[in-house]
């Protein structure tokens, strides 16, 4: 924001000569053009519709039609052909599938599932992954969370299978057809920038609350990375290889199966990994619409601020995330190693042997499972909820407020709310609506192209048209404040990490773990520390976005050309000078990417922060779900999507802008 105003201000007062000089620079040219347009349009708009929040004359109320649509759906859900013959079958297929997987998991028993998962992890990603899986499943059982874990796992298996299938098909289409790629790519990019909450309402509208809508929302949320990476992988095939295959007279299908798909294996596996992680994140959040399982336990505990119970359900989620990530990511790197080059004749025999081993392992697992019983024995559990709650109460009493000198966590929360969030919110809400549009246009155009600027402005306008201007500005103030803190902290950590390999080595495993955790989990500790309100939501958002920012920034700084650094050093530049004048400018693209990621990630958590008193747009979604008032929820959900789109576009660097 400040960069825009500081460049404009001197120019306004500058003599014409300087103006002409400024005209040479593209950034200034854009700003001048935009300033001129604003200067012409703003007085007109201000005179016609005023200069406060979005004018009500320009808003369209969809409450009535949406409410009627909701009533119609509820009344006709059991009679209209659309539901009986279309949605009903989708819902039925999902429920049957989840049920089948769940029954199989229960039939395998706790010993069977644990042994099976460990074997699978071992086979796919090595001994360490196998041991991790073994320990993790044992901990899930020990915490008394076996049944919820199996439910989440059953839902996940179905959702991931569907996401991978859908994503791979879309990706295949986009990989093979240029037109499809051009059409699909912006859609997929956009879908990845939207917070999970925005996906919940539409499926609830059609399917009501339950497991089927939860799976559908998960699939919609988790399929894009698969589609995207499949398409990228297929398109990245070496042209030379393709030509060689062509010259051997391969048909289109042979070419795809023998050359393009195998060559894209790394991307495909990365896609599967990302899809699994996104699916887990969503499967947990979808407890708000009845997904059951671990997420539901967290949700139940959060609504009573029972941190101990929330942690009991949160630990298995984290463990599940780590196991799934290690197993599938391990598979990804292992697949990069070329194999199968040694003697083709050996292959069939080895395959038979593997198959036999597998059959034996499966039989043993099943037998073990049947012997040990279906669910984890009740006497083998450790109740951690009470001690955790006692610890939390102690923390609340001792850390909460009144620590001499630094104050307590509650005091920080109150100060952050009173001195940062409130002024920022009031400022944004007091900003004239046309001013906000112009500001967004300026920022987006400076960083990106006129296309991104147009999308950003239209998204912001859509929020106004939906009548959600004030809550959106509230949400925006929370996002901006949290992003600022995230960036400051992120740079503070990333700079030492980029300069010292030792710090980097220490940091890496921590970042790995933090990046795999689903958003929902972050809400638990912040409630214990900061109570309820906008401050804990911000804290959760900051912690969630920090690892990505640290990783991207430190990578960008480290990639700076060694020769450039060397020459700077030989000129006698100090460490700080090197950083400011060489490394930062060279890593401009990465820094912008870090900002973009920070904005997207922070927004997604600020929205679910409504569950801990964050208010604003997220609250309206929760309210809509809680009161069955889907019209309100749906409008807020759309506004969230628009806000996400706007923030993403404003911070999206493009190739054109980097030139």
């Amino acid at each position: 924001m400040s960069s825009a105003t500081t460049t404009v201000a001197p120019q306004a007062a500058a003599p014409p000569g300087a103006l002409r000089a400024a005209w040479q620079r593209p950034a200034a040219r854009k700003l001048l053009l935009l300033g001129a347009v604003t200067a012409v349009l703003a007085p007109f708009a201000a005179a016609r519709w005023g200069s406060g929040a979005w004018p009500s004359e320009l808003a369209v109320s969809l409450d009535g039609p949406l409410g009627r649509a909701n009533d119609w759906i509820i009344d006709n859900r059991d009679s209209h052909w659309l539901f009986l013959h279309f949605f009903g079958h989708i819902s039925n297929a999902i429920i049957t599938a989840v049920r089948t997987v769940y029954v199989v998991l229960l039939a395998l028993g706790w010993a069977g599932v644990t042994a099976g998962a460990s074997l699978l992890a071992w086979r796919l990603a090595g001994v360490r992954a196998g041991a991790t899986a073994l320990a993790s499943f044992a901990v899930c059982g020990l915490l008394g969370m076996w049944v919820p874990t199996m439910r989440t796992l059953a839902l996940m298996i179905v959702a991931v299978a569907a996401s991978v299938a859908v994503g791979a098909l879309l990706g295949l289409a986009a990989g093979l057809s240029d037109r499809m790629f051009r059409g699909l790519r912006p859609v997929l990019d956009t879908m990845q920038a939207l917070p999970a909450f925005a996906y919940l309402l539409p499926v609830v509208l059609v399917f009501g609350i339950g497991v089927a809508p939860a799976v559908l929302a998960t699939v919609v949320y988790a399929a894009p990375p698969m589609a995207r990476l499949t398409a990228l992988g297929l398109r990245g095939t070496d042209q030379g290889v393709l030509e060689a295959v062509d010259s051997l007279g391969a048909t289109g299908r042979q070419r795809l199966l023998t050359a393009r798909l195998p060559l894209a294996r790394r991307e495909l596996l990365l896609g599967v990994n990302q899809t699994i992680m996104m699916a887990l994140s969503m499967a947990v959040i979808a407890s708000v619409i009845g997904a059951d399982g671990l997420g539901d336990r967290v949700y139940q505990s959060l609504s009573t601020v029972d941190v101990g119970a929330a942690l009991t359900a949160g630990i298995p989620i984290v463990l599940l995330a780590i196991v799934l990530d290690r197993t599938t990511a391990g598979r990804g790197s292992w697949a990069g190693v070329p194999r199968g080059g040694t003697g083709g004749h050996d292959q069939p025999r080895r395959r038979t042997r593997t198959a036999t081993t597998w059959a034996a392992a499966i039989a043993a697992t099943v037998a073990l499972g049947r012997l040990a019983g279906t669910t984890w024995p009740e006497t083998w559990t450790v109740a951690i909820a009470t001690p955790v709650n006692e610890a939390k109460d102690w923390m609340v009493q001792h850390l909460y407020s009144g620590i001499p000198g630094i104050g307590g966590t509650a005091d920080w929360a109150a100060q952050y709310t009173g001195w940062v969030l409130d002024p920022l919110r009031d400022g944004l809400q007091a900003l004239p609506w046309w001013g906000a549009l112009a500001l967004v246009a300026a920022l987006a155009w400076l960083i990106g192209t006129w296309r991104t600027a147009l999308t950003a402005v239209l998204s912001l306008a859509a929020i106004g048209v939906l009548g959600r201007w004030e809550p959106a500005m509230d949400t925006l103030s929370q996002v901006l404040a949290a992003v600022a803190v995230t960036l400051v902290l992120g740079f503070a950590v990333a700079v030492p990490a980029a300069r010292s390999p030792r710090v980097d080595r220490l940091l890496r495993p921590v970042l790995d773990v933090f990046q795999t955790m689903p958003q929902f989990v972050y809400l638990i500790p912040v409630v214990a520390l900061f109570g309820i309100g906008r401050a804990p939501a911000a804290a959760a958002a900051i912690v969630y976005a920090l690892p990505a920012v640290v990783r991207i920034v430190s990578q960008g700084l480290r990639q700076a050309d060694p020769a450039a650094l060397e020459s700077a050093r030989s000129l006698g530049a100090t460490g700080g000078q090197q950083l400011r004048q060489v490394q930062f400018p060279l890593a401009r693209a990465e820094l912008l990417l870090a900002v973009n990621q920070a904005v997207v990630l922070v927004l997604s958590v600020v929205i679910i922060g409504a569950l801990v008193g964050g208010g604003a747009l997220g609250y309206e979604v929760v309210f809509g779900l809680a009161q069955g008032d889907l019209a309100t929820g749906l409008m807020a959900g759309t506004a969230i999507a628009c806000l996400g789109l706007m923030l993403d576009r404003v911070t999206q660097p493009t190739k054109e802008a980097n030139r």
Partner: protein, 324 residues
Amino acid sequence: MRKRTTWTVVAAAALLATATGCGAADMTRQSSPYANAAGDGKTVTLSVQSWVGARANTAVAKYLLEKELGYRVDTVQVDEVPAWDALSQGRVDALMEDWGHPDQEKRYVADKKTVTDAGELGVTGHIGWWVPKYFADAHPDVLDWKNLDKYAAQLRTPESGSKGQLLDGSPSYVTNDKALVKNLKLDYQVVFAGSEAAQITQLKQFAKEKKPFLTYWYEPQWLFNQVPMVEVKLPEYTDACAEKGAADPATVDCAYPTTPLKKYLNTEFAKKGGKAARLLKNFHWSKADQNEVAQMIAEDRLPADEAAKRWVQRHPDVWRAWVR
């Protein structure tokens, strides 16, 4: 080549249609995939709402169903209004404490007949506005709504800005507070704490510092034992006002009614649920009973199962009649 692909697609579609039964699939008859996974037909799914009283009902019902009747019980967190839809669709079997939703009752009980009235819970609920006793003792005239504006300045908080704060809890509760504040032209701002637990945390903090507050609250509630509160008199509840409110909730300008809390069952479950359905229909206890369990859960931080167990051991005279 192309032709063969087309045929494959057609065949696959046909296969899919056959596999899914080709005919109608009524999603309102599809229960949760987790229900009855053991296959013995003895699973009951109870909906839980976020307030502690409702958790107490569910905890005791769950304990008795499991330990006395040998059922497997699932609990799912669903707010009141969505619970009606879930109940109608058979995704949950019972709603143990409903605070009065005439719209839903008409739609599901009277028109669609997918939900069955299972009688009263035995507890009478009352919603209102309350101030702490220490504040009411110092300023007795705050107990009439007409004098509330006089105290608005004292009740300001950062979240309510220049107006007085009327603290509301969870977004899922039955509330007319926004309409009341507007129609009675009060200088107050309704602030939602986000959840009941958050509201209680806030009220306790106010009480600890002996600060005044005005809050949406309800009876029966265990918190009264810890933070004594006095109700503020709102314009009297009349049938005319209730009718006006039913037509358009934004026009309500009178107090909340006193509601006998009710239980509702899924119709199918009510007919075929056997002993479990009978127990849930017979479930009937007093305000004191509910508060006893609620306090164990919320204040003593006992797990719900443990609280239910203690109550069940102390009061066999009450629940024996339910399981017969």
